[in-house]
């Protein structure tokens, strides 16, 4: 049978475009990627589109409107493999901060005519709507991890994406622990690796943009921030409530802090 290049589609929902831009930011690898796969749908890069079905769909962004809730079902039907890219698609993103607020009141804080908007109360991850084959973390995703995931699915193998914490990357890079040495509040112990421990290496604490690691122990970390680093509780709550606010592990970390008040 003649070899057919696998087809790749990139779909956008509520997002900043940064994760799909990561694909175009693979300056050294982009031409090789274009050799290996057929870009079937990627409206940020080309007006030529194919209807599908697609071998692999990359989905960026969260679901925030009734129309998008319908569209993601159609994307799923047309995709053999569906991979979410980034914090919005994987946990609802920063815009999930609306979930705990009255969306009508938020809309009127920004728009003079909120009645012109047709939006859902909640910003939800793709997996809340359709089955997802793989979730790639990060706000934004990491270039190397994106290439690894695309290669893995094209070659029909498991992607090699670690689920351990930023601490592991930080130690292996030889960086000094910013929380121990400088007393900088850091989410590294509960955040999934993938960024290369960027923030600690820049003398700042990790701010959790890759979301919770597998089985994070947020309780002891919150206690450490509060007792050893003298962080006020609202500061700790805000740290969890940022780019992955709706991820279950960070949401429950917030609940425990608020319950014990």
């Amino acid at each position: 049978m003649a070899y057919r290049k696998p087809t790749l589609a990139v779909h956008k929902f509520a997002s900043c475009d940064g994760c799909q831009l990561t694909l175009l930011d693979c300056e050294d690898e982009l031409l090789a990627v274009l050799d290996a796969i057929e870009i079937a749908y990627f409206v940020e890069a080309t007006r030529a589109t194919a209807d599908g079905p697609y071998d692999v769909s990359l989905v960026e962004g969260s679901i925030t409107t009734p129309a998008d809730a319908d569209r993601i079902r159609r994307v799923r039907e047309k995709s053999r493999v569906l991979i979410t890219i980034g914090a919005c698609a994987t946990s609802g993103g920063i815009q999930a901060l609306r979930n705990a607020r009255d969306v009508g009141q938020l809309a009127s804080a920004v728009y003079p005519h909120p009645d012109y908007l047709d939006v859902l109360d909640q910003s939800t991850p793709i997996a809340a709507h359709v089955p997802v084959d793989f979730e790639l973390r990060g706000c934004p995703i990491d270039k190397g991890q994106l290439l690894e995931v695309i290669s893995a699915f094209v070659l029909a193998r498991r992607p090699c994406i670690p689920t351990y914490s930023v601490c592991v990357e930080c130690k292996s890079s030889g960086a000094v622990c910013t929380m121990v040495a400088r007393g900088t509040p850091c989410l590294g112990p509960v955040t999934q690796a993938g960024c290369g421990a960027l923030c600690p290496r820049m003398n700042r604490g990790c701010y959790g943009c890759f979301g919770p690691m597998e089985d994070p122990r947020t309780g002891p970390l919150s206690a450490w921030w509060e007792e050893e680093l003298a962080q006020p509780r609202d500061r700790i709550v805000r740290a969890y409530r940022t780019f992955n606010v709706a991820s279950p592990a960070f949401a429950s970390a917030v609940d425990s802090l608020e319950d014990s008040e």
Binding site: G18, E27, F42, A45, A50, Q95, P112, L117
Partner: protein, 440 residues
């Protein structure tokens, strides 16, 4: 493979056409046009990118969080959001950055201009002039050009990553400066990268200047920042060719934002004057004398005057700005001495601060009201694309009137190109496009 859906309908003398999903723009939008015979009745640029309510959920957050949070409005120009938010909050707190810290911000911004403009020039805009559908077939048809573009874009990204830690949503920017300032030795490798990039930028200007451009020369009101002795990025007053000359705190008295039913982005216009253009062409027209000598002479070499009215030629202006940014970045690298402190001391208190800076797509305004603990009580953000939105409609009106007898598919395609002239960032503007034409 097929091109974007353009739908054409006719009832009596009324014709409509629509481009349902604008390609090669950042975000989601569409265009709806109504024609009465050959007269253009209405042009609506519809942004259906879902609103994300950033100004709403900034309320109650610490002012120190604003640079990281607002960066997420746009993955293409996160540095612009970080810069405008830092400057606005610093204005509220009475902080001013000088010397190497100020230089490092400018260097970081040069990186973003190079990266963002090159993305637009090569991957989004050039395909229109070369009969390509996009970056993918451009890479096949013109591999050397694409390789040049990728190398140039990579140089811009290398600056952002060297200072910011990563290309998208850099982690090193904070109110008052940076978390960590690079050593001279860490920045040294950029020198050779940028010298090469400057050559590539020069080739880029010559390459795009050779394209064929449709005729269109509207009489714009250009709005851009102006600084006494720099091409504007972080600091300056906001001026126009029709007498606007204001400080950040006067911005909202002059620019009004309206919410129109068909779009999820607020439309900006100047009080009592209407639409205006921000972005590379406006900056260039108002600041030609402040370009580096090489950028100026290259503009003259390719026949670009000190003012360029044709919006299709914006691709040349972007390439000139990339050349300028490479030059500037090299000058900053030349004089860089690592400052002793990575940031100035920041003391949170109540206050109100406004700032605008020049994002790649044009002036980006932020205002914050802070309470006594430095928490954000109110945030106002006016991105460049929402300011250009009405001007894009005015351009389309003129363009369609001129080319109304073209076959509809061609007309629709030309409209798409006219929109891409602005490099619209729809993710920013909702905080772009389907084409629909209605003929009556």
């Amino acid at each position: 493979m097929k091109s974007p859906k353009a739908r054409f309908e006719k009832s009596g003398k009324t014709r409509t056409f629509q481009v349902e999903y604008l390609a090669r723009v950042e975000g989601e939008g569409a265009l709806h046009v109504t024609l009465e015979g050959d007269r253009v009745e209405d042009v609506q640029l519809r942004i259906f990118e879902p609103p994300r309510f950033f100004e709403g959920f900034l309320q109650g957050r610490s002012a120190l969080e604003a640079p990281d949070i607002t960066a997420r409005i746009c993955g293409i120009c996160p540095v612009a959001y970080q810069m405008s938010s830092c400057h606005a909050i610093e204005a509220a707190l009475g902080i001013r950055l000088e010397g190497p810290l100020r230089d490092l911000r400018r260097l970081l911004y040069c990186g973003e201009w190079i990266e963002s403009h090159t993305l637009h020039v090569y991957m989004l805009h050039a395909p229109d002039f070369l009969g390509c559908e996009g970056a993918v077939d451009l890479a096949r048809a013109h591999p050397e050009a694409m390789q040049r573009g990728l190398a140039l874009k990579k140089a811009g990204n290398a600056i952002v990553a060297a200072i910011g830690g990563r290309e998208i949503h850099p982690v090193n920017v904070r109110v008052g400066g940076f978390y960590r300032v690079p050593t001279r030795a860490e920045l040294d490798p950029l020198y050779a990268t940028l010298e090469h990039a400057r050559e590539l930028a020069l080739e880029t200007v010559r390459w795009v200047a050779g394209f064929d451009f449709p005729e269109l020369e509207p009489d714009y009101e250009w709005v851009a920042m102006q600084h006494a002795d720099e091409y504007p990025m972080n600091e300056g007053r906001l001026v126009s060719n029709r007498g606007l000359d204001i400080e950040p705190r006067e911005f909202e008295q002059h620019v009004i934002e309206e919410h129109v039913a068909y779009t999820n982005a607020l439309q900006g216009s100047l009080r009592e004057r209407g639409s205006y253009m921000v972005g590379p062409q406006a900056r260039y027209a108002l600041n030609f004398e402040r370009l580096t000598p090489l950028a100026r002479s290259t503009a003259q070499e390719v026949g670009l005057g000190a003012v360029c009215r044709n919006p299709f030629r914006s691709i040349i202006v972007r390439a000139i700005e990339v050349l300028h940014a490479c030059d500037e970045a090299l000058a900053i690298l030349d004089r860089y001495q690592r400052p002793r402190a990575a940031a100035v001391e920041v003391e949170l208190r109540a206050g109100e601060g406004m700032a605008f800076t020049e994002a790649p797509r044009g002036v980006l305004y932020h205002r914050y009201v802070l309470d006594a603990e430095g928490r954000i009580e109110k945030a106002v953000i006016v991105p460049p694309t929402s300011q250009n939105q009405r001007q894009i409609e005015v351009d389309l009106h003129a363009l369609i009137s001129e080319y109304v007898r073209l076959p509809e598919r061609e007309l629709a395609h030309r409209c798409e190109q006219a929109i891409r002239n602005y490099d619209p960032c729809i993710s920013c503007a909702t905080h772009f496009l389907k084409l629909e034409v209605e003929r009556r």
